[in-house]
Symmetry: C2
Subunit: 272 residues, 2 copies
């Protein structure tokens, strides 16, 4: 069994010109999520699309990868047509397997999403959607992550329009090394979008982190739970901006070094 | 069933003075790993210790947390003595459940490890050991992650000595907000340790990311695999320093914003 990115497409929307950019699409909600279908449809107007996504939902999987068991690749059809490939693992697994065993060329850009729920503030660290894009950046691929700030009544109309526009801009301009754009879009009609803010990752904390329940034997078990409490209230911060109907575009780095802290630590003069 | 951090200890090494710092210990290799036992023994000379660790190994789980199923807490004994608590989830789950349902006070410091294998360069993003410490920082707890740069013949003698010394220093000095120290220690005797370097996260890439095999039906499956290729060769970078027998102390931030990229993106003048 071999895999090719140049699948014969029967989809009239699919751009087939080999000179068009090749766009790798992934997500963390899984290949059945509406968000990835909306994104793929939009991206087929920008270039050649290959979808590689988790077979099952993998929200909050962060940069997890699968070491303890093997992975399977399957072709996935929608309405009787080839749509893309599923991998039986995490979003990061998808990128690794796509680059090593599905694609026959390095893609021009990786686009992850569209995620259900914002990936802002502290959620940036938990997000599989963002992690897939960071994995792309690690592999030297220009990468974007898109999230829609809602868990219900998702309307991808404006989000896909903005994603298409920004993807074209990034293909033209490029991005700094080791850096992705994490894009969070309010779930409102275009007329209510206040504008676009180049944003910083906000601070947030989850209140009430786990709730306790009891099973039929009276033994306790715990569900992770809680609500996101914003720690900063500035329009420069991603979550605050999105809550005020701005699109937040945040440059996220896969270099986690706190460079500002280096000088202070040097003064400790640590010895072995 | 209730949980208390002030377990009646029968361990003569356990410091019992309530004025001593309270140290929360976690890891990603699971509660049976030698590294967490070595670390707990060392930390009992610094303060009061509570161990909360995954019941099973969770290497490469990054900042994943468990949303789709409930978690269980169990007491774990070693040689007939209470050692700590297991949580049936990821390292990040452990921290969340420890703070919400095991500890009755906020710990003074969180110490994660000692991990088998370095958590340097790109592996910083994949590491559950680092993620547990970052989760501590998000919760406002001073946090450290310790890793020993080997997968075999681990000798924790020097690593635990350095961990004890650094933990005392950090308890005295504190750390910048939203920042942990990720500490990587060579697996050599103290006499061969070249010194301590305040390091930056290096760049690296995994070569050959997944290998293909075939099952008894001839169908392919894939194991994530490969070797870490260093992209930079400077003693200021964590992995390079460790490979040259330096202890690397790297300040790692849970704010992933690439601030240097903000001005360039502003020039794009993105419109909605």
């Amino acid at each position: 069994m071999t895999h090719h990115d140049a699948q014969p497409s029967t989809d009239a929307e699919q751009s087939s010109n080999a000179t068009l950019p090749h766009i790798l699409i992934c997500n963390d909600d899984g290949i059945e999520a509406d968000g990835i279908h909306a994104l793929a449809t939009a991206m087929k107007k920008v270039g050649r699309v290959t979808v590689v996504a988790p077979a099952e939902p993998h929200s909050a999987m962060s940069h997890a990868m699968t070491l303890g068991r093997p992975l399977r690749i399957k072709e996935y059809q929608k309405n009787g047509r080839f749509f893309g490939y599923t991998v039986s693992g995490t979003p990061v697994d998808c990128i690794k397997v796509a680059l090593s065993h599905i694609l026959t060329e390095k893609p021009d850009i990786l686009v992850s999403g569209i995620n259900y729920g914002s990936n802002t503030a502290t959620n940036t660290l938990y997000s599989g959607t963002v992690a897939a894009a960071l994995e792309g950046a690690i592999q030297g691929i220009t990468s974007l992550a898109f999230s829609l700030a809602t868990y219900e009544n998702a309307d991808f109309t404006y989000a896909t329009k903005f994603a298409r526009k920004l993807t074209k801009k990034v293909l033209a301009e490029g991005l700094p090394a080791d850096t992705i754009l994490s894009v969070n879009i309010p779930n409102v009609p275009e007329s209510q979008i206040a504008g676009v803010i180049i944003a910083e990752q906000g601070s947030s904390r989850w209140e009430e982190q786990a709730i306790e329940r009891h099973d039929m034997f009276g033994n306790p078990y715990y569900w992770l739970s809680g609500s996101l409490q914003l720690m900063d209230h500035s329009m420069k911060k991603d979550e605050f901006a999105v809550r005020h109907n701005y699109v937040a575009v945040t440059p996220i780095s896969c270099d986690l070094t706190n460079y500002a802290a280096l000088a202070g630590l040097e003064k400790w003069k640590l010895k072995k």
